[in-house]
Symmetry: D2
Subunit: 238 residues, 4 copies
């Protein structure tokens, strides 16, 4: 089954230029899909459409089988942005409870505490987020997504700037998510992470899906995902 | 009628020390109430209780006549924090639409555009928030609260660091809110703002309501709100 | 003696519009001078001229008797900006040592530790700044200026957002600076702080010094500094 | 010739535990060296020692042939931190001029403007940094280092979160630096960037140099730099 189904989505801010043009792709259950896009690719607009932050203009989007603007759909997916802006006047416990409530569930704080320990933040769960470093804030976002356990995780550069152990742990956690039949849409410029994790890589540019292939096929063809992307940047008429 | 009714609220994080102890006060329709509290006063915990970010332990809180944890109550009040952390990948228009949706309403973007003009941000409404200065982000938060128009605005140091004209404008807007029978709970250390705006001043310390008086009476008695607070800090056994 | 002597300074970014026009004022030894200016007043440009961050175009500036661009002048004054951006990979001890070195002195860490205790940051002096809250960062900036003890402190909205006790303490420290014959140029929109501290208030707008008077005379004439400023904003042809 | 010569450097904060133990390595002219280290590896302390932000306890460090604490040494290397904290009240032009002054040179603003154009920031050079996005701030840091042209660039996760084109351009610029006989010490967790750029990779852990090898040899032996690092993390008794 597809956890995310984007079907023929086009979008224009001004009615003239299309920022997205007939974008279609799916994220199947139990897969990790990488999403790569340079500036002006439409990646942000695509994410805003998926999460109903702008009104869909044409095409359709289904999350977990539900039309994307419906409340049922909104409980199927969580979005972690590249920022580490959390409400500073809350503790991690309070933040994670609040996030849980938005998804209609009582979070298992024992599980969150276990992840805090694994992510080298033991003893900090009840401290105010205003005293957390940037890395800790990113890891707190990850922990919230891991304990809320929605079918689909959309991770937008959230791994940037976290330490190597945390990166290694996060990769392990994403593999577990996949093993459980859930899915991850991973937006990142860290091509090594993509090559290690992503079953499929989606390359978006100028509002089009330029490539949508098995990551291993891309690597075989181009040597690396980076080579594919940089070759494209150098040869395309952008 | 009381827009906010806090009645005998106590709170402890560890079951031993009370961070709030029998806190009671009201914010009546058409008033601006100042809330002042030093570190460790319990001010943050009070706000978390009001907005149901921690579970009420004893006492009761009503917002607009509704029990504070009910969905109806949550549409009666908006909280603006001291941070200027907005989702950077949205434009102001998208952010304000999203905030409106949380309150179940379609925002009047014409009104928001008018406020953007007044607040010297003409032509920036459709720019990404990631390109806004700190001052612009604070003003965007204010604009969102002003167009959503909930009965109660809780403003927590949001005016810090905005420019003088914006401060002057914001004060005028808060007076309009009061004239319309709506209310503002204004948490600030800027005692001059308090003296200009707040009908009543609430001084919290160590979990108690130390003073709850007409601001003009406090000023008459102590010379200024600052003098009252600083005298207290110097003489109390904290 | 004047610690700061700004004499007939004009400045234009484009050679056409003057952002500063014949600005002259002094900060005498042992005084606290408030500097107030709305958006577009030229306040930032004035500070950049004083600290030689833009090249002086006309007029002259002397700090501690030295021509402002000379190395001797640069050790006479410290500038604390409104941001709390400190190098996060340093501890407070390392940061304050580094700042001391820039002023050619070995900082007295015992004094800094004493101030950390007074400012409720005991035991945090050797922690990385990346784990400090915004308030702690602001207080660390203040401590650095207080232990470096240059003749002139220029404080630009640095007190925004610190807690009430810290504000109260900082005001006491600034009075001590004044008692020692040193001086403070205090840029702030917190008019209550100005009225409590500033011997003289300088009001800048559109590149001109609009007012330069004893603060108590301004308060006597207008009721408050805020009233003077807001009346001006409402009646001027800006 | 070695641009950076770290020789038998040990360091302890408390006189008991060594955070660095006999660390020795060199960065030769015309090379790009990757530096990888997990939490607690001593990487930050190493950088603080190199840039004389903590006092050297044992061993020696030479930059461009000069003892590292001497003024001549300090003009041989620039450090770009992972933060994007620039003085917000300056324009890029003013910031880059100020940085140039610290290195005793008049910056070529034409070259900086050219890089602004290449990095998709045309027309923003004279805007205040407070209006720049995080990505623009990172790119401005890069441009400052590229126009100041010191023999050694130390880049600490500065490429995190910049867009793909900027990453591609930055890689090209680093190769030019190498071609000119200058050098880059590149601290990053982006192992794909390391594999593309770094001639040699240094892996630090627990204060020791664990590996110091040609990157291509590491890749040949382990499949990838990431595999080497993650294998190490899983098998070491940390």
């Amino acid at each position: 089954m597809s956890l995310l189904n984007v079907n023929d989505v086009s979008y224009s801010y001004d009615g003239i230029v299309n920022v997205l043009l007939d974008v279609s792709f799916t994220v199947e259950e139990g897969t990790i899909v990488g999403l790569v896009g340079p500036n002006g690719s439409g990646k942000s607009t695509l994410i805003k459409n998926i999460f109903d932050l702008v009104r869909l203009q044409s095409g359709s989007i289904r999350i977990g089988g539900h039309e994307h603007a419906r409340p049922e759909a909104k409980k199927q997916a969580i979005y972690l942005s590249s920022n580490d802006y959390l409400p500073e006047f809350l503790t991690a416990r309070e933040y994670i409870s609040m996030m849980g409530k938005l998804f209609g569930l009582d979070v298992d704080h024992g599980e969150a505490l276990g992840l805090f320990r694994k992510f080298a933040m033991e003893g900090r769960y009840d401290d105010l987020i205003e005293d957390y470093s940037h890395g800790m804030r990113k890891k707190t976002q990850l922990v919230s997504a891991l304990v809320i356990r929605p079918p689909l995780l959309v991770i937008d550069e959230t791994l940037n700037g976290i330490d190597i152990e945390a990166l290694h742990l996060a990769e392990g956690e994403f593999r577990k998510v996949r093993d459980e039949g859930r899915s991850v849409l991973l937006c990142t410029h860290d091509f090594a992470v993509l090559e290690r994790l992503a079953d499929r890589t989606l390359f978006l540019d100028l509002g089009y899906v330029v490539r949508d292939e098995q990551t291993k096929d891309l690597v075989e063809e181009h040597g690396s995902v980076a080579a594919m992307v940089f070759d494209y940047l150098e040869t395309s008429e952008r």
